[in-house]
C-alpha cells in the first residue's frame, strides 16, 4: 500500500494497573515524584529466595471495574489487571463496555485486541505438592498414579484454563465485545511493544478501525522468581529494595520484577474524528527485528537493537535528529544497559548528547510482557506535559555508559516525538515511535 493510502493512527485512551497505582494519574504522580514500587514480596513467601522483594500491584479490587465480576473473578492475576486497565482506557476513549448495544459509534467487527500477555501462574501449592505426593523415593521416579490421584482431587478446571496465555485477551474480548482481529503474543520482555506495533500496522492497513492494545503479565510466583534467580537476572539487593533498580549505574546488579497491565486504545484518525474523541498522540513508526544470535545473550554489537531502531525511524520517515526522548528498555542488568547504550550511540551518533533517555523501570520495576505498554504510556504523558520521566537511583554512573539518562528527577522539556524500545529474552527487538498530534 502506498504511504498516502495508509491510515493515520492515533491514541485515544490509556489505562494502567501497575505497582505505582491503579490509574494513569496515580502512575504519573508516582513517576514525577520519583516513587519506587518496590518492597518485600508478599504474593508468596520468598523469605529464603535469593531475591526477597519485587514490585507488586497492591490492594487491587476488580469489582471497581466491572458490573459482572463473576465473569472475570476466576481469571489469573494479570487477566484481572487487564480488566482494570481496559476500563480506564475505554472510558477515556468513550468506548462502551459490558453492553450488547454499544452507542460509541464503533462496529464491533472493526474493533480488535492485541495483547502481549503472559501465561498464568500455576497453582503453586497444588503443583508442588502433586510432585511431592507422586514422587517414589524407592525408585527415584514419578509414580504417575499417585500424581494423578492428588492432581485430579485438587486441581480446579477453571483455574487450569486460566493459566493459558490467551486468557487475558479472552477476558478483554468478553468485557468489550471486540470481534475484529484478536491476537495475543508473548515475546518475553518485548511483548507489549510488539503488540502495540502490530496493532498499529493492522489499523494503518485498514484491517480494523480500533485496536485495544497493550500488555498484562505477572511472573511474581514461586516458579517465575526461581527461574529468574537461577538466570541471575534479578537484583538481590534485599536490604534496600527501593534502590535496587538502578539502570545504567556501575553498581546495577539485575532487574526488579514487577507486574501489571497497561492498555492503549489505538484508532484510525478517521474513526477518532468521526467519534469526536480526544486525541492523545499519534503513532508514526514501528520496527521489529530479531538478533538471531544466542538465546542467552544479546548480540555484542547490538545488531538487532540497532536495526529495529533504524527500521522504526525509517517507517516514521524520521532521522536520528528528530527524536526528543527515548524510553529505554533499561532493565538494570549489566548486559542490557551496556548493549542498549551501545545501540543508541550507534544510531544517534553525534546526536546522542542531544537525546535524553531514561528508564522508568527504576521506579516501576520490570513488568515483563506488560513493560513496553506501560512505558509507552509514559511517553504519551511526557509529550502531553512537557516533562521527561527520570531514571532514579542514578548515583554512581557507569563510566562506560555516558548518555543523558535524565538522572534522579524529572526534567521539563519540549517533547514532540518519543521513542519506546523493548528487547526480549532470546533476541526480539521492538521499537514504537509516537508524536504529538497535529491535524
Amino acid at each position: 500500500m502506498d504511504d498516502k493510502n495508509k491510515n493515520r493512527v492515533v491514541i485515544t485512551g490509556m489505562g494502567i494497573i501497575c505497582p505505582l497505582g491503579h490509574s494513569i494519574a496515580e502512575m504519573w504522580d508516582g513517576i514525577l515524584n520519583c516513587r519506587s514500587g518496590m518492597a518485600e514480596t508478599t504474593i508468596f513467601d520468598a523469605a529464603t529466595y535469593p531475591t526477597k522483594f519485587c514490585s507488586e500491584v497492591k490492594n487491587y479490587d476488580l469489582t471497581k471495574y466491572t458490573k459482572n465480576p463473576e465473569l472475570h473473578s476466576k481469571g489469573n492475576r494479570h487477566s484481572k489487571f487487564a480488566i482494570g486497565a481496559a476500563n480506564e482506557a475505554c472510558r477515556q476513549a468513550k468506548i462502551d463496555v459490558e453492553t450488547d448495544s454499544p452507542a460509541d459509534g464503533i462496529n464491533r467487527r472493526r474493533m480488535g485486541i492485541y495483547l502481549g500477555a503472559g501465561e498464568g501462574p500455576v497453582d503453586s501449592n497444588i503443583f508442588f505438592n502433586s510432585i511431592v505426593q507422586g514422587w517414589d523415593e524407592a525408585t527415584n521416579t514419578m509414580d504417575w498414579a499417585k500424581w494423578h490421584a492428588y492432581s485430579a482431587g485438587n486441581m480446579q478446571a477453571n483455574f487450569e484454563l486460566e493459566q493459558e496465555p490467551n486468557m487475558p485477551a479472552a477476558h478483554v474480548s468478553v468485557y468489550t465485545g471486540a470481534r475484529g482481529p484478536v491476537r495475543s503474543c508473548l515475546t518475553a520482555c518485548a511483548a507489549s511493544t510488539q503488540a502495540i506495533g502490530e496493532a498499529f500496522k493492522i489499523l494503518q492497513n485498514g484491517q480494523a478501525d480500533v485496536m485495544i492494545a497493550g500488555g498484562a503479565h505477572s511472573m511474581i510466583h514461586p516458579l517465575g522468581i526461581m527461574g529468574f534467580n537461577r538466570l541471575t537476572a534479578l537484583s538481590t539487593r534485599n536490604d534496600r529494595p527501593t534502590t535496587a533498580s538502578r539502570p545504567f549505574t556501575e553498581s546495577r546488579d539485575g532487574f526488579v520484577i514487577g507486574e501489571g497491565a497497561a492498555i492503549v486504545i489505538l484508532e484510525t484518525l478517521e474513526s477518532a474524528k468521526k467519534r469526536g474523541v480526544q486525541i492523545l498522540a499519534e503513532v508514526i513508526g514501528y520496527g521489529s527485528t530479531s538478533d538471531a544470535f544466542r538465546v542467552t545473550d544479546m548480540h555484542e554489537e547490538a545488531r538487532g537493537a540497532v536495526s529495529a531502531i533504524e527500521a522504526a525511524l525509517k517507517d516514521a520517515n524520521l532521522t536520528n535528529k528528530d527524536i526528543d526522548y527515548v524510553s529505554t528498555h533499561g532493565t538494570s542488568t549489566s548486559e542490557n544497559d551496556s548493549i542498549e547504550t551501545l545501540a543508541l550511540k550507534t544510531v544517534f551518533k553525534e546526536e546522542t548528547k542531544n537525546t535524553p533517555v531514561s528508564s522508568i523501570k527504576s521506579m516501576m520495576g520490570h513488568l515483563i510482557g506488560a513493560a513496553g505498554a506501560a512505558e509507552l504510556i509514559s511517553c504519551v504523558l511526557a509529550i502531553r506535559d512537557g516533562v521527561l520521566p527520570p531514571t532514579i537511583n542514578y548515583n554512581d554512573p557507569d563510566p562506560e555508559l555516558d548518555l543523558d539518562y535524565v538522572p534522579n528527577k524529572p526534567r521539563k522539556a519540549d517533547v514532540n516525538i518519543a521513542m519506546k524500545e523493548s528487547f526480549g529474552f532470546g533476541g526480539q527487538n521492538n521499537v514504537v515511535i509516537i508524536k504529538r498530534y497535529e491535524d
Partner: protein, 433 residues
C-alpha cells in the same frame, strides 16, 4: 502484493515429514496410540498423537549442538518442521550452507504459534522433593536447599518465544520475530500475521507456522478436568477422535509442528521457486462466551473470521473447493463450528467438501492450524481431497458434507479455520497458483 507458499514442513504423529503427513491423511491412517512418555494407566484419556522417535542433534548444525540441552519438546519439533520447510523450498540458509546462503537474513521473518510449554515434571521433581518437611512441600526449605539444584537456564526451556528464537538462530532470520500465543488458533494466526508482514513489505520471506506438544501429564489432566478429552476409546486409539460424527465424544491431544515458507511473489518468481499455493485472504475474529472454554453456540466468531477471509480474498463462497475445519470432536464445539461455517458460506456451506484432520493427527494446539495449512497445500498440489476418518454418520446438528470417499479434482481454493478456548478465531483461504 501476492504472498506465495514455497516450502512445507511438518512433524506429526504420522511421521517426521510433511510427506508422511499427507500420505497418512490420504490413506486414512491414524497416528493416535497409547501414551509412551509416561504411564497413563490412571488417566481418563490414555492415548495421544505422538511424534515418532528422533534425535534433535540430527536437525541442528554442529556449531550450536550444545544448545540442544536448552530445548524442550515443543522447541525440538518446531525445529524439525522448520528445517524441512526450508529444504523443501530449496533455500540455503546458514544452517545448510554458510557460504552460499540464498535468503536475505535481514528481510526474513519468523512468526510462530506456540503455547506455554508444560514443564518436564521429571526434570524438576528431584529439586522439589528436596523442599519437603513432614511430607509436605515447604517453600522455606525449597528456597534454602533446593532452588540452587535447578539447572541455571531452566526458564529458557519454557518461554514460548524460544521456538522462534532457536529457529531464527539456526537459520539466521533477522527480520521480525513474533510468537502468537492464542492456544489452538495460534498456528493459523501466526501464518496470517506473516502474510500481512510480507504483504505490507516489512519482510520478503517468512517462516511461519506453529508447534506444541500436548503429550504430558499436566495437559492431559487439564483437558480431562475441562471435560474436553475423549475417554471411551483407550483400547481402540485409532477410532477415538471422531469429528462431526454422531458419536463424537471429545478430543484426543497430541503433538505436532507445521511450518511453511512464505515469500513475496516477486522473490519467488525471480528464483523460479515451486509454488504450492498463494494466500488469497486471511480473516480473524473472536468467539465471545462467558464459558471461556467453549465456542459460543451459534459459532459467530468462526463465521466472522470466514467472512473476513472471503472478503479479503475477494471471492464468493461457491468458489471454495474444500474446507479444512478445526473439528475437535468436542460435540458442542463441532456443532457451533459447523453453524459458523454454514452461516458464512450460505447454501454452499452444506455442500462444500469438509475434511477434518484431527481424527488422524489429533489436536495439537498451536501446531494444529499450521498442520492444516500444510495439508491444504498438498491437496492443491495433488488435486486430491482425502476421505475423512471416523465420521460414519454426520451429527444431525452439524449438517456438513464431510468427505466420505477420496475426491480427485482440480482444487482452486481451500479454506482452513481454527478456533480456541478463550475465543480467538482465524480463517485463511489458500489458492492454487
Amino acid at each position: 502484493m501476492t504472498v506465495c507458499i514455497t516450502g512445507l514442513g511438518a512433524a506429526t504423529c504420522l511421521g517426521l515429514s510433511y510427506k508422511d503427513l499427507w500420505a497418512g491423511l490420504c490413506s486414512g491412517k491414524s497416528g493416535i496410540s497409547r501414551i509412551g512418555g509416561f504411564d497413563p494407566t490412571s488417566f481418563k484419556c490414555q492415548i495421544a498423537g505422538q511424534i515418532p522417535e528422533f534425535s534433535i542433534r540430527d536437525y541442528v548444525p554442529k556449531s550450536i549442538r550444545k544448545t540442544t540441552k536448552l530445548m524442550s519438546r515443543d522447541i525440538e519439533i518446531a525445529i524439525i518442521a522448520a528445517n524441512e520447510a526450508f529444504k523443501d523450498a530449496d533455500l540455503k540458509t546458514k544452517a545448510f550452507d554458510e557460504q552460499n546462503v540464498t535468503i536475505n537474513p535481514k528481510r526474513s521473518a519468523i512468526i510462530l504459534g506456540a503455547n506455554s510449554i508444560s514443564c518436564d515434571l521429571l526434570e524438576i521433581a528431584p529439586s522439589i522433593v528436596k523442599g519437603v518437611v513432614d511430607g509436605k512441600f515447604n517453600i522455606h526449605k525449597w528456597g534454602t536447599d533446593s532452588i540452587e539444584t535447578v539447572t541455571p537456564l531452566w526458564l529458557l526451556k519454557y518461554l514460548p518465544n524460544m521456538l522462534a528464537c532457536h529457529i531464527g538462530i539456526i537459520h539466521d532470520l533477522q527480520g521480525p520475530s513474533n510468537t502468537i500465543t492464542c492456544a489452538e488458533s495460534a498456528g493459523l494466526l501466526a501464518i496470517g500475521e506473516a502474510f500481512q508482514i510480507i504483504a505490507r513489505g516489512d519482510a520478503e520471506l517468512a517462516l511461519a507456522g506453529g508447534g506444541e506438544s500436548k503429550v504430558n501429564p499436566i495437559v492431559h489432566m487439564r483437558q480431562s478436568l475441562l471435560k474436553r478429552a475423549n475417554d471411551d476409546c483407550n483400547d481402540n486409539p485409532t477410532e477415538a477422535c471422531r469429528p462431526f460424527d454422531q458419536n463424537a465424544n471429545g478430543c484426543i491431544f497430541g503433538e505436532a509442528a507445521g511450518c511453511i515458507v512464505m515469500e513475496d511473489s516477486g522473490r519467488a518468481k525471480s528464483r523460479n521457486a515451486k509454488v504450492y499455493a498463494t494466500v488469497a485472504g486471511f480473516g480473524e475474529s473472536c468467539s465471545i462466551n462467558a464459558n471461556y472454554q467453549a465456542l459460543e453456540p451459534d459459532g459467530k466468531g468462526v463465521q466472522y473470521a470466514i467472512e473476513s477471509a472471503l472478503e479479503n480474498a475477494k471471492i464468493k463462497p461457491e468458489q471454495i473447493d474444500l474446507v479444512i475445519p478445526h473439528g475437535t470432536a468436542v460435540v458442542s464445539d463441532d456443532i457451533a463450528e459447523a453453524a459458523g461455517i454454514r452461516n458464512a458460506l450460505g447454501g454452499w456451506g452444506e455442500k462444500v467438501p469438509v475434511f477434518p484432520t484431527k481424527s488422524m493427527v489429533s489436536n495439537t494446539g498451536s501446531g494444529a492450524g499450521a498442520v492444516d495449512v500444510v495439508a491444504a497445500c498438498c491437496a492443491i498440489k495433488d488435486g486430491v481431497i482425502p476421505a475423512a476418518k471416523n465420521c460414519t454418520a454426520v451429527h444431525k446438528d452439524c449438517k456438513l458434507n464431510i468427505v466420505k470417499e477420496q475426491i480427485k479434482k482440480k482444487i482452486n481454493y481451500v479454506l482452513c479455520t481454527t478456533y480456541t478456548y478463550g475465543g480467538q478465531t482465524a480463517a485463511i483461504v489458500v489458492k492454487s497458483e
